[in-house]
Assembly symmetry: C2
Homo-oligomer: 271 residues x 2
């Protein structure tokens, strides 16, 4: 597949890169349709905000140009963009001369089972908790060992995703998705100020729901509140929306609000 580093075809990286040494960087996973990135502005905006928080001096204009060219070359599939702080010496202090590195990897569109989007998915209840770290919360940074541990908890393929909670037991997200619930006509999704990744599809669906005058809230959600929901779904920027069928002892059917938002996501991803 297609791989670029700093705008040139390349798949080898210096072992001095701080992305390897410390996970000192960020990533975005971008759906590519008809040679164009889906939700481009949201991806670039999240990345710019995270770079500002991490003080990574990324050239946003260059990145945009490069990402567009990469997606045009890829055609269809998924573009994974990694931004690192660049090369470093030994030691945590960012060297004054570090130049951020832009890594782009192309992948085929994942072959998810059609039932995931159709009838829905079963969620595994992961035991691995998410630690609370407000300084890193919301960002899609490269420190992802908690997700690695959580994903390693199950190998039964009948679970398409796993639910992750924080150390206090609050619902946060799924391993590679955000989670929403619907209760009495209101759309709810966890507050991600302590931990979790603020996904671009989550942001898009919140905006679209507001536009449709669907009552929305970003709030703390307990496991029992989630289990008592009328509808539950997970979402991300690659597959869109999957209804949740089952979690622990709760069962759901894909409901009307889930289907409405799934259609919106599908239209974005198919356009």
């Amino acid at each position: 597949m297609l791989n670029w580093i700093d705008g040139r075809p390349e798949e080898l990286l210096s072992i001095k890169d701080r992305g390897l040494a410390y996970g000192d960087g960020l990533f975005e996973t971008v759906a590519v349709t008809a040679g164009a990135p889906v939700l481009l502005e949201r991806h670039l905006s999240r990345l710019a905000q995270s770079c500002a928080r991490m003080k990574i001096p990324l050239d946003q204009h260059l990145l945009r140009t490069e990402l567009l060219a990469f997606c045009a070359a890829l055609g269809e599939g998924v573009a994974k963009l990694i931004i690192t702080r660049g090369d470093g010496l030994r030691g945590y202090a960012p060297p004054a001369t570090a130049l951020p590195r832009r890594i782009l990897q192309g992948f085929a569109t994942p072959a998810y089972a059609p039932e995931n989007a159709g009838q829905g998915v079963r969620l595994f209840a992961c035991a691995t908790p998410l630690a609370e770290q407000p300084l890193l919360a919301g960002m899609k940074h490269l420190n992802r060992l908690e997700q690695v541990l959580a994903r390693a908890e199950w190998d039964d393929p009948s679970y398409a995703e796993g639910l992750m909670r924080d150390v206090s037991g609050r619902v946060v997200e799924a391993v590679y998705s955000n989670i929403f619930m619907i209760k009495n006509g209101q759309l709810l999704t966890p507050n991600l100020s302590r931990c979790g990744v603020a996904g671009v599809m989550r942001a898009e669906l919140l905006d679209q729901a507001a536009r449709l005058s669907i009552p929305c809230a970003v709030t703390d959600i307990s496991l029992s509140e989630l289990l008592g929901a009328d509808e539950v779904f997970v979402c991300n920027s690659v597959y869109g929306v999957w209804p949740v069928l089952e979690l622990l002892d709760s069962r759901w059917l894909a409901g009307p609000m889930t289907r409405k938002l799934q259609t919106i996501a599908r239209d974005l991803l198919d356009s």
Copy 2:
């Protein structure tokens, strides 16, 4: 300088490596004296334990052979060893075919100011808290953004190290060192079961102190307890022991227990 990947001179790495993608790996920083690694068994043992916790199937025998050969080739300096879970596809699940990768980088012995070991160092009080994650605590894994953020808090070179506390304010460690305090003849160092890196020099000094019948405790330590200590020092496997002179409003002189343990560390590093 010397760089090896999987036993061969190489300084370029596949961008598919999970160390880059997720920080899915571990590292060790090994002092090298007269062609030999210092505290070799402790480094290998910590690494083996961490690999077991992370289910990384590392060939320990091969690694030992390789590390010894690398240190012999390096002669003097610091060997940084990174172990990653190897290449992966997109997605957190470890691929069944992943082969751990061994990366070795050689560095010159750091040119620390002689006063650090002599009169001692000033500690900056970092605001970046360490999140509590018992599943990752103690390991020297590649998810080190908290240290990157903490180290970026100061650029005044008169601070040689920075103190890190957990989200509840307990003393945990310094950015690239462990910390000890002495109070009424007892040697105390923080409990690292919630967060922090369990350094090999820390383990060595605890064992040596026990051998010398110095009363020791690994326990929770509050900031006020630390500030009220009789002596404070930081340690790691590269520089040994540095007395702490100053932290916030507290001042210390390098005391007798610090000097005793510093001599032990120096003998190990000079041998």
